[in-house]
Amino acid sequence: MAADRPAITARQAEAFASRLPPLLVAAERVAATVAQGLHGRRRVGQGDSFWQFRHYVAGDALNRVDWRQSAKSGQPASAGWFVRETEWEAAQTVCLWRDSSPSMHWRGDGTVEKQERAGLLALALAALLLRGGERVMPIHPGARPVVGRLGLERLALALETDRDNAGLPPDTPLPRHATVVLIGDFLSPLPDIEATMARLAATPARGYVLQILDPAETALPYRGRTRFRGLENDGEAIVPRVESIRDDYRHALEAHRAGLAAICAAAGFGFGVHLTDRPPETALLALYAALAPTR
C-alpha cells in the first residue's frame, strides 16, 4: 500500500491543483537567498517581462535601446531614444511539513485517514507553488528545495518516506524569510507547540498552520462502556458511559484549539482547521488565500 501511494497522491494532487490558478506567494522581503525566478518583484531588474520604457540617458548601452519605439517617437536622436527595461523576477522558497506521526494514521467511520488528507493537501499546495515557479522544500533533515514538475514527484516521495513520530516539525535549518506551511493534527501539549513556533518565528519565517482533525475527534460519537486505546503508546482509558463526557471532551478540544490559534497569531502564522469529512478544496482555498499576495 505504501509503495504505490506516492505516485497516486502526486497525480491526485496535480489534478487537484490544476483547478486553481498558479499560486503566487507574496514576496514581501527581498532576501539574499532569493534566486532567479519567474515572478516579478515590481521593480526593474533582470527578467523576461517588459516593465517600462524610459528616456535614454548617456551611458546606457546602445544595445539596450528599443529602436522601434524610438522611431515611433519621431524626435531627434538621443532625445527621442527609449530604453526598454524588464521587471526583476525572483522565486521564493516555501517550506512544507506534514505530520506523519501514528496519530495521523487513523480515521473514523466513513472518512479518510488524516495522514492521507494531509499528504494530499501538502502536495496540492506544492503543485500550485511549483507551477507558479516557487521553490518548495520539505522540512526534514537534509532536505533540498525542489523546482518544476519533476520536483513534485521527488517531493511526493520525500513526504511519503518521511516517518517521524514527534508530531511537530524537526529543528532543521530553514532559509531565512521562508514561507512555512505546517499541516498536522497538533494534538501535542500546547507548551511543546509554542516552543516549536517560537523557534520558527525566530528564523525568521512566516506561514500557515493547518490543523487536520477527523470528525469523530471533534464529536466523540461513541456510546456506552468503551475502552479507548491511544495510538502513540499513551495508554488506554475505560470510559463507563461515553455520552456523559462528550460535552467535557468538546470543551477540552475547543480550549486546545483556541490555545493553538493564539500561539500561531503570536508567531505571525495563519491558523485554520480542516475536518476530513469536508472536501479538500476548501482547505486548499484557505491556504491559497493565506499565501496569496496581500495588497
Binding site: R225, F228, G230, L231, A237, I245, H256
Partner: protein, 893 residues
Amino acid sequence: MILVFPWALAALAGLPLLWWLLRVTPPTPRTETFPALRFLLNLRATEETPARTPWWLLALRLSAAALAILALAHPVLDAGSALPGDGPVLLTIDNGWASAPGWSRRLAAANDVLDRAERAGRKVALLATAVNRAGNSPAIVAPMPVPDLRARLAALRPEAWPESRPVATAALRGWSHPGTTTIYIGDGLAGDGFPAFAEALAATGAVTQICCDPTPIRVLRTPLAEADRLVVRLSQTPQPVATQVGVLAQSGDGRILSRATIGIAAGEAAGTAGIVLPTELRNILTKLVLDAPPSVGSMVLLDERWRRRPVGLLSGDPIAADAPFAGTLFYLNRALGPYGEVRTGDAKTLLERQLAVLILADRPLPDGAERTAIAEWVAKGGLLIRFAGPRMAAAEAPDKLLPVRLLGGDRQLGGALSWSKPTGLAPFAPNAPFAGLIVPSEIAIERQVLAEPDAGLPEHTWATLTDGTPLVTQAPLGAGRVVLFHTTANADWSNLPLSGLFVDMLRRLTAMSAGVTTGAEATVLAPVETLDGFGARTPPPLSAIGLAANAFAVTPVSAQHPPGLYGPESNRQALNLGSAPGELAPTPPIPGSRQEPLTDTPPEKSLAPALIVAAFVLLAIDTIVSLMLRGLWRARLSAAALALLLPILLAPPARALDIVANPALATRLGYIATGNEEIDGIARSGLSGLSDFVNRHTSATLVQPDAVEPGTTDLSFYPLLYWPIVVDAPKLDPAQIAALNDYMSRGGIVLIDTRGSGSGAGFAPGTENALRRITQGLNIPVLAPLTAEHVLSRSFYLLTDFPGRFVGEAVWAQRDQDRANDSVSPVIIGGNDWAAAWAVDAAGRNPYAVIPGGQRQRTMAYRFGLNLVMYALTGNYKGDQVHIPAILQRLGQ
C-alpha cells in the same frame, strides 16, 4: 408427559446462583482506538457507574440454562405406562396373513412396548407365531437388549399364510423366566389350537393382550362363474353393524375393469356381489382385489379356470355333422368358433381331455359306457348341453341324461297338415341365464320335443315359447348341469340357429360353465410367483414346494404352499388364500390377561432434542447480542449472515404461474371447459400429451394447452379447440353460440368428442343427446364420415382410421369443401375419446388404457392428433397428396 431423569431438575436450583454471577459481571466493553486520548485521560474521573448486564440479556441466558436442564431431564411426551413385572419381556406377535392390514399399527404397538422396556432397562424376547419365509417354525428369540431386538422387529413381515399356533404353543411351553411380562399382539384370528396357545401364553407370566384391528378380518373367496357374471364372495368376522366393501376387478396390466360393492348385513359372515362384464373383458381379468388395505387376504388371483372353456361337440350323425347349412354341428361350430376352443371327436376322445362344455346334437344316449362316462363327467362339474332332433324323438328307451322327462315323439307347429302356426320365443325370465337378451320377433319354432308336464317343470325351464311350452330346460346333476334345447341345432326344426340370439345363448351358457385347466391331474406344479402378506408379487419363498394340479381346490395355504401362481405358462394355476373354505373365528380374550386396544396411539416423542435446539438458539441469540454490545457485530457482517440464512429460512414455495398470461405469444391448443373436473383434467392432460408428441415429431412448437370458455375467452388465438361432451352439458347461451360460430367461420376447428358413446362399451351414455342439445344454434355444416381420402388422413402421417381410446366409430367432418377457409372443416365430430388416449400423467405414463388395446392403437391415436394439429395449422396444404394416385397415373401415361 414423563421425565426419564427427574433428578436432573435439581440443577434448576443452581439458576439463582447463575443469575447472581451473571448480574455482577459487567459486559465486556467495546474497544476503540482514539488519537485524542490525552483529553479523555483528563476527563476520566468524572463518572464511574458500574455497568450491569441488561435484564433481558440476563433472562435470555437464564432461560437457555433452564432449557438445557429440562432437556437433561429427558421429558417424553405420550409415553406409555411402565410395564408390570421386572423380568424379561416376552413380545409375542401374530404375523399371519390376517395381520397384514394393520401391520403398521402392530409394529407401532410393538415399538411402543420396546420403548417402555428400554426405559426400564429390561431385556426383550420375541416370538413371531407364523412360519417364516425361510420355512423356520416359530421359535422364541432369546431375551436380548432392546436396541438389538429393534432390528429383528423391523425385519419382521406379515406372512401370506396363517399362524402355526401348535408350534408356537410348544415354543411357549419351553419358556421359563420368572417375572416375565408377556405382551401378545394378536391378529384377531383364532385359527386352530388357539385355546392351548392362550393357555400356554397365560402360563408364561402377566399377559397383556393388544387386540385387534377395528376393521373386520376379510378374505376374498374364489369367485363363482355364472352365465353373465362373476359372483365374488367375501368372508369376514361378523360385525355388529352392516358393512360395505368394494371389489375391483383388475386386468394383468393393472387396469381396473369393473367394481362391485359387497354389502354384508350386521352379524353376517359372508356376502356376495356380481361383476357383470362382457366375456372379452372377463377373459383378461387376472385378479380381484378388495378396496381395502393391501393384504393377501383381500386378493384373489384368477387363472385359466376362469377363462378357458373348451367346448366339445358330439353329433348323432358323425358323417353328416359338418355338412354346410344342414349338418347338426354346422351352426354350433359357427356360433362357438370365434369365441373359444371347439373340439370334435368321439365321446371317449373328448372326455380324455379337460372339457368345460359338452354339446350333444341330436345324439341319444342309450345305457352304456358312453353314458356312464358322460354322467360322471357332468357330476364332476361339467356342463352338458343337448339338442333334440329326429333321432332323440325316435329313441325307444327314455334317455336318462335329460333335465326333464320327455313325451314320446315330437310336436309340429304349422305345416301342411296343421292348423297351428310356428311359434316364437317368449321373453326370457329375469332370473334365467339368458336374462336381458332381446328376442327377435322373427324366430319361429316349427318342431320341438315336449317335456312331460310336471309340477317342477317351471323351475327347470330357462326359456319358453310364446305358448308356454318349454324350449330350454335344465337340471343340476352333481356339481354339473344338464341343459336341453327342445329343438335342433340346425335349421331343420326352427330358425333359431340362424339368429344372433343363438350365438348369445350359447355364449351365456359357455360362460356359465366351470373353467378347466389342461394337463394331467397329478402333475406337480412348481410355484412361479407367490404373494407376500401384503399381496405383492414376490419370488417364491424358500419354504415353498410344488403342488399337484388336482390338489389346488383342497389345499389350504401354508408356508409350503404360499398363495400365488404355480406351474408353467401353458398350465398356470392359482392358489388363493380364499380357495379353502372355512370360518373366520375371532380370538376370545386370553383368560387373566389385561386387554389393550390396538389403536393408532401416537408414538412416544422425546422432547429433549427440541429443548436442546431451543437452548442453542437462545445461546446463539445471546452471542449475537453480546457481539453487538461490544461493537463487534457490524451491519455488514449481519447482512452477510442474513444473506446466507434468508434463502434457507424463506425456501421459495412452489408458485403456480399464470398460464394464460398472453395467449398470443405462443401457439397452443385449447379445450372448452366443461365444468366437470375429471373430464377437464383428462382434456388438459390429453392435449398436453399431444402437444408434447407434436413438439417431438414436428417443427411445430406448442406450449401447454389452455382451458377456454366461449364468450369469455378470446378464441382467435387457438388453432384447435377440443370439446369433450358431458351428459349434463347445458344449452349454450347466445353469446357462446356467437363466439363459436365466429370462431368456426374464420377457420377455427372444433373437435367435438362424445367420449365413447358409440363404442358399445357404454362409457359415456347419454352424450349423444347432450351433443344434440349443445349444438343447437351452431352453424354445423353438412357432415360426412372421414375417409382415408380426406386431407386429415394425409396431413402428416398416412392414416386409414382415427382411433382414440376406442376404435371404429365413424368420425364426421364437413362434406363440402369451403374454399373460403382453405377447405378446412370447421368442426370434426367423433366419439373415440381421443383426449384419454393422448393423456399423459405427471410420471409420463398413459393413465387410460386404450380399448381393445395395444401400443399400436395409442400410436395411431397420437398420429391422428398430430394430423389434426397439422390440419389446423396448415389447412389444405397437403390436399394435393390426396390426388397423388391420379397425378402418378397421369404421369405414367
